[in-house]
Amino acid sequence: MKILVCISNVPDTTTRIRFTGSKKLDTAGIQWVINPWDELSLTRALELKDANPGLVESVTVAHVGPVSSEPTIRKALAIGADSAIRVNSDAHDAYFVAAQLAEVVKADNFDLILCGIESSDFNGSTVGGMLAEFLQYPSVSAVSGINIENGNLSLTREIDGGKELLSLAVPFVAIVQKGIAKEPRIAAMRGIMMARSKPIKLVEPVMTEPLTEIVSYEMPPEKEACRFIDADKPGELIDILQNVEKVI
């Protein structure tokens, strides 16, 4: 079984987001990281490989992005991915990205494809599902666990108020969320050294018209300053919540 982990390259969430004009992210001072969900799916993919050495042949990461994303891809290799594929293009929109990833999957016949539930830049939650539809593969969303028992894959899916245990034959796309792995695996010195010699395969994009376009950004509306209420006067707060805010 060959596993593909799709990774997106996003600003660290503690970075202050600013724009130059209304259309362009100001990248000065931004710390770029592997999207948190993708780091966790990579971790789980590596755990599955470690636990099932004969069965899981390889773990590959794929990214659609320009050469400036390579440090993030190297980081994934340092964490333990065997190889990486980069589609050499800006990520115009989710449809465009998914179309590129579909070509990557077809070229190498990956069996299990992992995507995160959302990337923390555009908060789309769309690439994984789109990829599955391009491939005509099944997809399962809200996956909080992937296990291999007797050579078969089982998935845990989060539903309102509980969980479901699913079984499904490869190939398919799993769209993962909290629970998939505990802590992201971190790169050890040895991994960082080894990552230098691991291959990043470069692929040119296929022609695809994006379906959407961001025309402008704006900052969140200014919040009014917090109104402090004396901690000894709980009645006053409750009165406001009841009669001014009308929320209780």
């Binding site: 600003p11 969430t13 503690t14 202050r16 987001i17 948190p36 929109d93 989710a94 449809y95 555009f122 908060n123 939650s125 769309t126 599902g129 789109m130 599955a132 539809e133 099944p138 997809s139 399962v140 809200a142 089982s154 989060e158 539903i159 309102d160 108020g161 509980g162 479901e164 245990l165 699913l166 079984s167 499904l168 034959a169 769209i175 629970g179 994006p210 379906l211 959407t212 376009e213 961001i214 025309v215 402008s216 704006e218 969140p220 919040k223 009014e224 917090c226 109104r227 402090f228 209420i229 901690a231 709980p234 009645g235 707060l237 409750i238 406001i240 919540l241 009841q242 805010e245 929320v247």
Partner: protein
């Protein structure tokens, strides 16, 4: 031309979020000068289906099929896409919840229709079709143009006011011939708690952070939430430590919620936590540190020790409830 809204049901019932979704879709239909059809998949009785009419659906199509009992993303996509084609739907609207997120992107590819994911308003313009949504986990918003003729939108929860009228909708029960080969996910086991108010449905949420100091101190959080008819939540370290169940973890990597009232107790207000609650209508923070970042996003604040403040709040709520 028409607008299509997919209304999910939970054991045969709709929820507040369904009515919000239909209200939004009806406003969209009005903007486009067309009518709204709601699609329901699964066993829902006529009275329940009819309730969607009050929020503006002029027609309800109900499909029951044994094979569609559990969510299979590919099969649901096929059903919704067929319905959209049949109606000539120009806008297809789903909730921005687990089901909407599972189905909308597949529909997008199947119909070659652009997606506006997690929109929180009606479009600001129809030509070009421009939607508004949060990006960078709430640190910014974007105006996005959807360039295709058919558009798919998922609506962020608690972002649109419910508008109730007294329309009587036309109800059509449709039998649907599903290609069984499409259903590939097999549900082997379900572990589900019913009857409990879900965090994502709650209009009031009382949430505790590491400032609560110990899992043994949670009783007043639970009591306050119960008194207010709300749910409890927590910050990530609290669920990581096992002080509270994982379902309560709120934030960028946990649940993203938008209640009317969010009370954050002993929570510092890290950006990753706020990313999950910033869409709440009113945030109240209780913290010993007057400079805690949570006060930058809170509308009301109390500086004090949670274990002293909470009993006072509980008393005050009891007083107004008994009045």
């Amino acid at each position: 031309m028409s607008v299509l809204v997919y209304t999910e049901n939970w054991e045969g019932k709709f929820k507040k979020l369904s009515y919000e979704l239909v209200s939004y879709a009806a406003a969209m239909a009005e903007m486009l000068n067309t009518s709204l059809t709601a699609l329901s998949i699964g066993e829902v009785d006529s009275a329940e289906l009819e309730s969607l009419g009050r929020f503006g659906a002029s027609k309800i199509v109900s499909i029951e099929n044994e094979k569609l009992k559990n969510l299979d993303n590919q099969a649901y996509t096929a059903v919704i896409a067929d319905m959209a084609k049949k109606l000539g739907a120009r806008v297809i609207i789903l909730a921005n919840n687990n089901t909407g997120k599972a189905v909308a992107p597949r529909l997008s590819v199947k119909l070659k229709a652009g997606v506006g994911a997690g929109v929180s308003r009606l479009p600001s313009s129809l030509e070009p079709f421009t939607v508004y949504k949060r990006v960078y986990s709430g640190n910014a918003y974007a105006h996005i143009v959807i360039k295709t003729e058919v558009r798919i939108l998922t609506l962020a929860q608690n972002s649109f006011d419910i508008a109730e009228g007294d329309n009587k909708p036309e109800i059509e029960k449709l039998s649907y011939d599903l290609d069984p080969a499409l259903v590939k996910t097999e549900v082997r086991d379900v572990n589900k708690q019913s009857g409990k108010l879900l965090l994502t449905d709650a209009e009031i949420v009382v949430s505790g952070g590491r400032g609560m100091r110990s899992p043994d101190n949670w009783a007043p959080i639970v009591e306050l939430a119960d008194l207010l008819g709300g749910a409890t939540a927590c910050s990530r370290p609290v669920s990581d430590e096992g002080w509270r169940p994982h379902e309560e973890h709120t934030g960028q990597t946990g649940k993203i919620i938008a209640p009317d009232l969010y009370i954050a107790v002993g929570i510092s207000g890290a950006t990753q936590h706020i990313a999950g609650v910033s869409a709440s209508k009113c945030i109240v923070a209780i913290n010993t540190d007057k400079d805690a970042p949570v006060f930058d996003v809170a509308k009301y604040g109390m500086v004090g020790d949670a274990m002293k403040v909470l009993p006072g709040l509980i008393e005050a709520v009891k007083n107004v409830k008994s009045a």
